[in-house]
């Protein structure tokens, strides 16, 4: 361990400054309730879209490339396990069994050298 220092706490503050406005502005801006219908419809669709994009980027793109290099497409046990999770969540309407099944599938595949 490097011991207790405050060296990176200012960086945390800087990151907060880059994060908080996007979280707060729409909630604090007056008149948000007067958005036109199409904007409200857009925002309703933003949830599933953002989460699906987050899932896709995290399971289909590599994350271990050196700095400055672009990611490559990953087709293996991780996207397959995410697909298993989606099927289970669709059938059971519960998140945990889906996530657990995905984790077990990946762990088993790796234990048997399949991934």
């Amino acid at each position: 361990m490097s011991g207790v220092t405050l060296g990176l706490i200012p960086l945390a503050g800087l990151m907060w400054l880059c994060t908080y406005p996007s979280r707060a502005l729409p909630m604090l801006a007056p008149g948000i309730e007067r958005l036109p219908n199409w904007a409200v419809a857009y925002l309703r669709l933003a949830g599933p879209a953002a989460l699906a994009a987050l899932a896709a980027v995290n399971c289909l793109l590599s994350t271990d490339q050196p700095a400055g290099q672009l990611p490559h497409l990953v087709l293996g046990i991780v996207p397959a396990a995410v697909a298993v999770c989606v099927v289970i969540v669709a059938r059971t309407k519960l998140l945990f069994p889906g996530v657990a099944a995905a984790v077990v599938a990946v762990a088993v595949a790796r234990a048997f050298g399949l991934a």
Binding site: L8, P48, L51, V82
Partner: protein, 279 residues
């Protein structure tokens, strides 16, 4: 005697009628939705803790201190940006570059906040300002799904959602830092937990063909753009363009309840819950 029987019957009927008032039905609906929220929140917490462990391990390699880890988890509270920042600190990247990446990665919160905003307009400004700090991917997904189920704002539900990620994420980060390299998260398959949970949560928000089109459109945009511009750019592009794909599709019979039916009313569910004996 007959009169007493009639009175008793009338009283029972009155109680039965009272039990089925709109307020009682709404209370039951909120109660059931909170149970669903807690179940889903437990699933979130169950993966947030091990992912937090991974983050803690990464910060150890990047020479963070324990205070750095805890303060970052508390102050920033944004997993993707924190992972990116830890990797950049490890590579001695300038802070300005880390700030730029943080801004880009977390730009999606603008959409989350705008989605939640119609439900919170009547809440006090200070409460909204504090709520905004905790508006993570998971808080957004859990609380918006809860608000959509009950058709209005519920402060207690929001804080349950926020706690389900904030506590395990911070504790996991600290534990990961302290236990060091004792856990092989890749061998245990824990690296799949985050995308699996995001996919599952996305599916949980789908309530019509427009939602399906928006989600599939986001994936179709995010992956190729991510290959060209990097994962963060792909993520933002998918999140921004996906809803337009959804809007291009006619709303089907399974479309979600329109927000005009209630969210803007922003009833204080917590106060109602207290009056109606909810937990």
């Amino acid at each position: 005697m007959n009169g007493q029987t009639a009175t008793t019957a009338d009283t029972a009927a009155a109680h039965t009628a009272a039990a089925h008032t709109p307020a009682a039905d709404m209370a039951a609906s909120v109660r059931e939705s909170r149970r669903q929220l807690i179940r889903d929140g437990a699933a979130i917490a169950s993966y947030a803790l091990p992912v937090g462990l991974v983050y803690g391990l990464l910060t150890l390699q990047a020479h963070f201190s324990l205070a750095d880890v805890v303060v970052t988890c508390t102050v920033v509270l944004a997993g993707g940006a924190q992972f990116a920042a830890a990797g950049m600190v490890k590579d001695n990247a300038p802070w300005l570059a880390i700030a730029g990446v943080t801004l880009l990665v977390n730009a999606r919160h603008l959409i989350y906040s705008a989605s939640i905003a119609p439900y919170t307009t009547k809440r006090p400004w200070r409460e909204r300002a504090v709520m905004a700090h905790f508006l993570t991917d998971e808080t957004f997904a859990l609380s918006l799904a809860h608000f959509r189920r009950i058709g209005r704002f519920d402060g207690r539900g929001y804080w349950l959602a926020a706690a389900s990620i904030f506590i395990p994420w911070t504790v996991g980060g600290a534990l990961g830092y302290l236990v060091g390299g004792a856990v092989d998260t890749t061998r245990l398959g824990l690296d799949v937990a985050f995308p699996a949970a995001m996919a599952g949560l996305s599916l949980g928000m789908v309530s019509g063909r427009r939602d399906v089109a928006a989600a599939l459109g986001a994936v179709a945009v995010a992956v190729p753009v991510g290959l060209i511009g990097g994962p963060s750019v792909g993520l933002v592009a998918g999140a921004v363009i996906g809803p337009f794909v959804g809007l291009a599709v006619p709303a089907g019979p399974g479309a979600a309840r329109p927000p005009a039916q209630d969210p803007l009313a922003t009833i204080d569910a917590t106060e109602r819950a207290a009056k109606e004996g909810l937990p």
